[in-house]
């Protein structure tokens, strides 16, 4: 019985992330080459990850860093002073 599009779905992530056997990879390549729906699916799944990776690097803002340090120091002193009693 020939495979349907949905038979490939469980393997699509491994296929896209390059973690699949060469045989299965070839089989999916062939199907995607012939099936427009699966090609659109694969292209947009790739783009989904690409777009999500693009976000700006989330550097910790400086004022937040200072706030964090004093907050942690306070908690630290509470913890270690009380344990020394």
């Amino acid at each position: 019985m020939p495979k349907k599009c949905s038979d490939y779905i469980q393997d699509l992530n491994d296929y896209l992330d390059g973690e699949i056997s060469p045989e299965l990879c070839e089989e999916i390549d062939k199907h995607v080459g012939e099936c427009k729906n699966c090609r659109l699916m694969v292209d947009s799944m790739k783009m989904t990850v690409k777009l999500c990776r693009e976000g700006k690097s989330e550097e910790l803002p400086v004022q937040l860093q200072d706030k964090l340090t004093s907050l942690l120091k306070k908690r630290w002193d509470e913890k270690f002073k009380s344990s020394q009693k």
Binding site: K4, C5, C35, V49, C52, W76
Partner: protein, 238 residues
């Protein structure tokens, strides 16, 4: 004779490059960390922190705070919640530092705290329940069932060319924020933090198969949400 000269030159080169590397490394440390703490291994820093040395704990946190903030920002989707998750993570780390046994890397341990803090803080958020997997599949013509429920498929082209950068960013952030928490975590750890499926499965305490399936469903659901947003936006632009 020629060979001997060649060997000698190679040796000299090796020696020179060795000295160069260690100098630049030393230079890097002296500039980026306080002199002594900066040269300590993570293990030494942890031992000192457990003994009550705050500067050692600070040095540990310094190495990880940007990554934890970045993860919190993506998990939360907004600055305020991200700040809370990050702060709660490090406060919890202070409370629990005595329990850290070093089975996992310190960074992984912080991740697991951050994921828990994120879950409790974001539990009030409303997110869309995911549909059955079939709803995200291409219909593939007559041989497939569920065609009435099939995925939205059209050519996305390059969204950067069709949408403003800010508009695109908002669509993506919203789509991620709509994912149920455990799917959002799986997706972000895999594709933002670049962890392996095995690492994620250990972190979230699920089997490799369950982790794989969660990452796949998250990706399919996200693709579907983006697809419907793009369809609406592209239609308006034409």
């Amino acid at each position: 004779m020629v060979r001997a000269v060649g060997d000698f030159t190679t040796l000299r080169r090796l020696k020179i490059s060795f000295v160069y590397i260690s100098e630049s490394r030393l230079y890097f440390f002296l500039n980026h960390f306080p002199p002594i703490l900066g040269l300590m291994s993570e293990r030494e820093l942890i031992a000192r922190a457990k003994a009550g040395d705050f500067s050692a704990f600070s040095a540990l946190i310094d190495k990880h705070k940007s990554r934890i903030y970045g993860l919190a920002r993506k998990l939360a989707g907004n600055d305020q919640d991200a700040e809370d998750i990050m702060q709660d993570t490090f406060l919890k780390a202070i409370d629990k530092i005595g329990q850290f046994r070093g089975e996992a890397a310190f960074g992984t341990w912080l991740y697991s705290i951050a994921l828990n803090e994120g879950r409790s803080l974001l539990s009030k958020q409303k997110w869309t329940e995911l549909q059955p997997v079939e709803a995200y599949l291409p219909s593939g013509g007559s041989s497939d069932m569920h065609s009435e429920q099939a995925a939205r498929l059209f050519d996305w082209k390059d969204p950067h060319k069709l949408l403003e950068q800010e508009e695109l960013r908002a669509i993506i952030d919203n789509a991620i924020a709509e994912l149920p928490y455990q799917y959002r975590v799986a997706f972000l750890l895999r594709y933002s933090e670049e962890l392996s499926i095995k690492e994620i499965s250990e972190l979230i305490g699920e089997s490799v198969a369950a982790t794989k399936s969660r990452v796949l469903r998250a990706r399919l659901a996200l693709r579907d949400t983006l697809s419907s947003s793009f369809e609406v936006k592209y239609a308006k632009k034409v």
